[in-house]
């Protein structure tokens, strides 16, 4: 099978869905010029000039228009240049997009995809490096997606676009150029289905988004020490496939939960709490979480390196649950 980068897989998903469905359109800052900063929207203007909208720098307007177009039956794919900027449109995401179906007793459908490039890359510090998945997980009515491979990115993006409900689609900037096998044909990945990225017997490592490659790297390093870890990638955080995670933990009896974001009140906290409720008696060691300390993202590389967890941090956590 051919190998392409994650950003190419996203672009391919967009092109295929736009060809498939006239109601899909793209809206965001700089999405025509260069195809956006990440090139994900490249080539769309040549094929569908009437379905791509390059906007003023006005995130509340961008998402607000997306919500309205979605209410009218369109399928907007919104690009927010950095997830950090979505805070300028939180009313539109939380009060409008997410609640509309419920508030109207099921009359409204808001099929909007909000693409949220996230995570540290290129030392751009506190306002261009956040992740924020757990903020969105906490809002009923939102679906939260965080692919870690090009294969998952394409299949999940296609599902997101076809979904009748809003999707917050997290794209780890550091993974845009990571490569992997991606089929050329149409395929979708259902939401709420975790994927076991590496099978193992000794400990389960639940890794989210950008932490998946780091967990896999830790897995290789730990082989020398005789530890065979299983890496479970939830792929979607809402809905969250606790069934697959619990099934793995019941087999291994030990679990590390990894996220790149701050651990405090984070995604890992929810997974750890659910594990404590559902698998307590299967655990042979306390759950260990890996994540950033509760600080804004710093600038200097020396500080970033001690903030963002790496493969070594995952390996250390595994050693702790194995001890």
């Amino acid at each position: 099978m051919r190998t392409i980068a994650l950003r190419d897989a996203l672009r391919e998903a967009l092109h295929e869905e736009m060809a498939r469905d006239d109601s899909v359109f793209v809206i965001g800052e700089d999405v025509i010029a260069h195809g956006g900063p990440y090139t994900v929207t490249q080539g769309i203007v040549d094929k569908w000039p009437e379905r791509i909208f390059e906007t003023p720098i006005a995130e509340a307007g961008i998402v607000g228009l997306g919500v309205g177009a979605a209410l009218a039956g369109m399928r907007p794919v919104v690009e927010i240049m950095y997830v950090d900027f979505i805070t300028c449109a939180m009313d539109e995401v939380v009060n409008q997009a997410a609640k509309m179906r419920y508030m109207t007793g099921g009359q409204a459908s808001v099929p909007i995809v909000i693409r949220l490039p996230c995570g540290p890359a290129r030392l751009v510090a506190a306002q261009h490096s956040q992740i924020m998945e757990s903020w969105f997980m906490h809002v009923p009515g939102l679906q939260v997606v965080a692919p870690s491979t090009p294969y998952d990115a394409k299949g999940l993006m296609k599902t997101a676009i076809r979904s009748p409900d809003p999707v917050a689609f997290f794209e780890y900037k550091a993974l845009y150029v990571s490569e992997g096998e991606v089929p050329e044909e149409d395929y979708v990945i259902p939401f709420g289905k975790a994927d076991i990225k590496r099978e193992g017997e000794d400990a389960t490592v639940v890794a989210i988004g950008g932490m998946v490659p780091r967990a896999l790297e830790a897995g290789i390093a730990l082989e020398d020490e005789g530890y065979d870890i299983e890496v479970v990638d939830p792929r979607t955080l809402a809905p969250l496939d606790m069934e697959t995670i619990c099934e793995s933990v019941r087999r291994t009896g030990r679990v590390v939960v990894c996220e790149m974001d701050s651990s405090f009140a984070g995604t890992g906290a929810e997974i750890a709490a659910a594990l404590a409720e559902q698998c307590f008696h299967d655990l042979r060691a306390p759950i260990v979480r890996v994540g950033s300390p509760h600080v804004p993202m710093p600038f200097a590389e020396e500080l970033v390196n001690v903030t963002v967890p790496d493969a070594k941090a995952v390996a250390n956590a595994v050693r702790k649950v194995m001890a």
Partner: protein, 327 residues
């Protein structure tokens, strides 16, 4: 369409439907049948009915926290609206929304909105959908003067103008932002003047004068349908009741309210305007009101006889549970 006798009588009837619906809803809150809060439109009726008179069923309307009038004027069934206020499963939103989120998608009423200026972006977005689909549907967004202070107002107008979207922005300036007089917190008197910043027409009209609102809306809707872009209409008006239930109204005088009710009531003014033209006789006027009262009674009966929600209903309508992705 020219404002003729028949259309005027229909519009006049709708004004009474809004007035009496809300006065009944207020009465029902004191009886305990309607819970939660209410933001009433009484005193502002001319605006919704005059604007919606120009709309087709497939045109979009987005509202505010004060939207009973917009919904009724756009054709939402009154019985289902009353049932929603009563918190019954037959309500417009199946008891999930209540007064502040009332919506009827069958009439393209995409919802009242509890967030000030919350409808402006989405209403510009429905207009964007019309443009992409090359449909001549227009969108109307109603909002209060308070919304003109918020970012989404400015961003929405910018997008609407930039892409010449078929949207009409209707500001119902009732002079108060909840309990604060507009003059204390605004730097321009007329919201219509703010249209200049976005290079769109801005028109200020007397919101108590049905004919004035009707004329401004006619031009704005026609302009939008022709694909020439948005218009901002400011309708200067007044709310007869407090901001919401329990408002002590310490920020305005009894005399001021009485003066508006006596001399600036849009229903009284339009009734007199029609009578001058021999378009409405006293008997007809009475018959209209009697008929509306009967409709109100029927809507209350409908609500009272409708079932309350069951505990399991709380979990439905968060997402489309039936949906499964397919390749």
């Amino acid at each position: 369409m020219t404002l003729n006798a028949e259309l005027s009588r229909r519009i006049y009837t709708d004004m009474w439907r809004i007035r009496l619906f809300e006065e009944e809803a207020l009465r029902q809150t004191s009886l305990g049948s309607v819970k939660g809060t209410l933001h009433t439109y009484c005193g502002e009726e001319a605006i919704a009915v005059a604007v919606c008179a120009h709309l087709r069923d497939d045109d979009y309307v987005l509202g505010t926290h004060r939207s009973h009038g917009h919904c009724l004027a756009k054709g939402a069934p009154m019985d289902r609206m009353m049932a929603e206020l009563f918190g019954r499963t037959t309500g417009s939103c199946r008891a999930k929304g209540g007064s502040m989120h009332i919506a009827d998608f069958s009439r393209n009423i995409l919802g009242a909105n509890g967030i000030v200026a919350g409808g402006i972006g989405p209403g510009t977005g429905t207009a964007l959908a019309s443009k992409i689909r090359k449909s001549d549907q227009v969108s109307v967004v109603f909002f209060g003067d308070g919304a003109a202070a918020r970012g989404p107002f400015h961003e929405g107008l910018l997008f609407g103008s930039l892409w010449k979207l078929p949207v009409i922005y209707v500001c119902e300036n009732n002079g108060y932002q909840q309990w604060v007089p507009r003059r204390n917190v605004a730097v321009v008197d007329s919201v219509a003047d703010m249209a200049a910043s976005y290079a769109i027409p801005g028109v200020s009209v007397d919101g108590q004068d049905l004919e004035a609102v009707y004329g401004a809306a006619e031009e704005a809707v026609a302009r939008a349908r022709r694909g020439e872009g948005p218009t901002l209409i400011e309708a200067r008006t007044y709310r007869f009741y407090g901001h919401s239930l329990g408002d002590m109204e310490e920020y305005r005088s009894r005399e001021e309210v009485d003066d508006w009710r006596e001399n600036r009531d849009p229903i009284k003014l339009f009734s007199a305007w029609m009578k001058e033209r021999q378009w409405l006789g006293d008997d007809e006027d009475e018959a209209i009101q009697t008929e509306v009262k009967a409709e109100i009674v029927r809507s209350v009966t409908y609500a009272e006889e409708s079932p309350l929600p069951s505990p399991e209903d709380v979990m439905t309508d968060v997402l489309d549970d039936e949906w499964r992705v397919s390749a």
